[in-house]
Each structure stands twice: as C-alpha cells, then as structure tokens.
C-alpha cells in the first residue's frame, strides 16, 4: 500500500505562538501585520474624509469634528504609530527581498531601530501638528 492512499497528515499550522519564547524579531514581524490591519482601517477613514469633502461643508465639518474629538485624536495617534512602523518595517522587508539583513545581529538591531524610529517619528509629527495648530 502506498503513502498516497493514507489520509493526509495534519499539517503544521502557523503561528505557533505558544511554543516560542518571545524574540524582538518575532514581535516586529507580528507588529508589521497588526499595523497593516490598523492602516487598513486608516485608509477607510481617509476614504470617509474624501467622501465628506465631496459632500460639502457640513459633512466636512462633521468629519473634522469627529477626528478632532478625544477619541478621534487617539485613533489618529494610533494610526501615526502604525504608519511609521509599517513604513520602516516595510523598507526592511524590501531590504530582505534584496537579500540583505538576515544575520541575527543585524535582524535584532533592525527590529530595535524600527521600534525606536516609530516612537521618534510619531512624536515629531505630533509636536509639529501642535505647533501648526492642526490639533
């Protein structure tokens, strides 16, 4: 009897989160997906902005009021974090695609850099937003 006649074996499933100690590279990989999903929602908010703009002054003022509310600002802050993270880590992915950056030390250092860049860039944008009266 050949192997093909047997029922297929249970395939390993991704992700095996429970069996690994957390590494920073693992955290940065998961964060890439999480921020991507957050930015998906952000793009829908951007679409709502465009629709409100086309609808007229009242709709636009309503939309700006919503985003300017404490909850709206919190969402925008989260989106800023997500954007800078996904940007930096996305460039890291492009570097990987070119065949570089896989050495353990490099990968760990790049993870730290991406998280640090995210914090610094987000802070910078919100300080600028406060200074130009965008909040």
């Amino acid at each position: 009897m050949s192997d093909a006649a047997k029922a297929p074996r249970e395939r390993p499933m991704s992700p095996h989160l429970s069996v690994w100690r957390w590494h920073i590279t693992m955290a940065s990989s998961i964060a890439n997906r999480a921020t991507g999903v957050a930015l998906y929602i952000g793009a829908l908010i951007a679409a709502a902005w465009a629709i409100a703009l086309a609808k007229g002054p009242e709709a636009y003022a309503g939309f700006k009021g919503l985003l300017g509310s404490p909850l709206g600002l919190l969402v925008m802050f989260g989106l800023t974090l997500s954007f800078f993270y996904h940007l930096a880590n996305g460039i890291r992915h492009l570097v990987w695609d070119a065949g570089y950056g896989f050495a353990l030390k490099t990968a760990n250092a790049a993870s730290v850099f991406v998280f640090a860049f995210t914090a610094a860039a987000t802070l910078a944008v919100w300080v600028i937003a406060g200074m130009i009266g965008a909040l």
Binding site: G36, V37, Y40, A43, F83, L94
Partner: protein, 131 residues
C-alpha cells in the same frame, strides 16, 4: 470535501508555473511607490487638519495635490487588499469562509477606493458641494 485529483494535478498551473514573478514584483513596486506617497500624505494630513473646508477644496484643486492624492489612495487600497489577502490565506483554512473573506476584502477595497478617488476628482474638477 473529498477530492479525487492527484496532488500533481492540483499543483499544475498554480503559482509560479502560471504567473511567474509578476505578482510578487507588482507588490514590491507598489510598496516602493507608497514610501514617498505616504510621506507626502503625512504632510498633506497636517496641512488639511490645520485648515478648514475652503482650504481643503482649494488645496485639492491644485493638480499636483489631486494627482498625488489619487495615486496615494489607489495604490494604498491595492496594497492593503493584497496585504489582508495574505493574512486571510494564512489564518482561515475553511475554503468557504476563506473565499467569502477574500471576496469581501476585494469588494471593500475596490468600493472604498473607487468612492474616495471619485470624490477627490469631483472636488478637484468641479469644486466642493453636495453630491
């Protein structure tokens, strides 16, 4: 569901055998385009957040702003459709659920993207006002 097709028959015509690396390269080129476009987008959001409706309509009527915004929205919706597609394919294994979510993802991105781009063009070409 029992399938009587052999593994070879199922593999034939899929993946690289069918499309080569066009899809893979397309995803990367889209991502590269989004680097400058989204950085410009942050700048745009800051300016728009500081301004009112009249400012926004004048700003978007500027050809460069309108074109960059359309490109930013179009490529973003394309990129995120591909991104969520991979996530669905990774985590949802029941064929019907997976197919339904993939179609939903595509439709949401296409609809939201088309609405957003049409809205930008309407304001850029005809000025603001009711639909």
């Amino acid at each position: 569901m029992v399938s009587y097709r052999t593994p070879l028959s199922r593999a034939r015509g899929l993946g690289a055998a069918k499309h080569g690396v066009t899809h893979w390269i397309g995803e990367r080129v889209g991502a590269i385009a989004l680097v400058p476009l989204t950085l410009w987008g942050v700048f745009a959001v800051l300016r728009l957040a500081a301004g009112d409706y009249a400012f926004a309509t004048h700003w978007i009527a500027e050809p460069l702003n309108a074109v960059l915004m359309v490109l930013l929205l179009g490529i973003s919706f394309w990129h995120m459709q591909g991104g969520l597609r991979v996530i669905i394919e990774d985590y949802v294994h029941v064929t019907l659920n997976k197919s339904a979510l993939l179609v939903l993802n595509l439709f949401v991105c296409a609809l939201a993207g088309a609405l957003a781009i049409f809205s930008i063009l309407k304001v850029a070409l005809a000025g603001g006002g009711a639909f």
